[in-house]
Symmetry: C2
Subunit: 83 residues, 2 copies
């Protein structure tokens, strides 16, 4: 429960939850014009691999953070594809 | 050098480099309308904290991945702010 531990947790929370306002904006406006398709294709696959990595390592914070990020980023990718 | 190791590395490469096509698109088009400002504010701060976390833990892959992501995501944030 040292500084490093809390710093890592705060970092994980910020980077995971950051995709929420983007997902909300995309759902509300249906506008994905300036969002990059290759970015979200690479990102969603990458996060899915992070999730498998977390499962293999039995690392709960990694698993939880990546489930959250996978949900939000998949929503953004879905709207981008059907644009 | 097992499957888990390579899976983690592939995941890190994909999620780090995914911000490159978005940065290129933003630089070329100057269009950031559908990109969420709160997302990139939270994300850039989060990645900066991940970098500090990596430095404190002396974790080279974490440091390198987050330096790359910090550069690309800061470019996107810069263009969004001056939009």
């Amino acid at each position: 429960m040292d500084t490093t531990f809390w710093l890592g947790n705060l970092a994980a929370i910020l980077t995971s939850l950051s995709f929420l306002p983007q997902a909300i904006q995309v759902i509300k406006t249906k506008d994905t014009k300036s969002i990059s398709l290759p970015m979200y294709l690479m990102f969603v696959i990458g996060i899915a691999l992070w999730l498998v990595y977390g499962l293999l390592k039995n690392d709960l914070p990694l698993i939880l953070a990546n489930i959250i990020t996978l949900i939000f980023s998949s929503i953004i990718l879905f709207y981008k594809i059907k644009e």
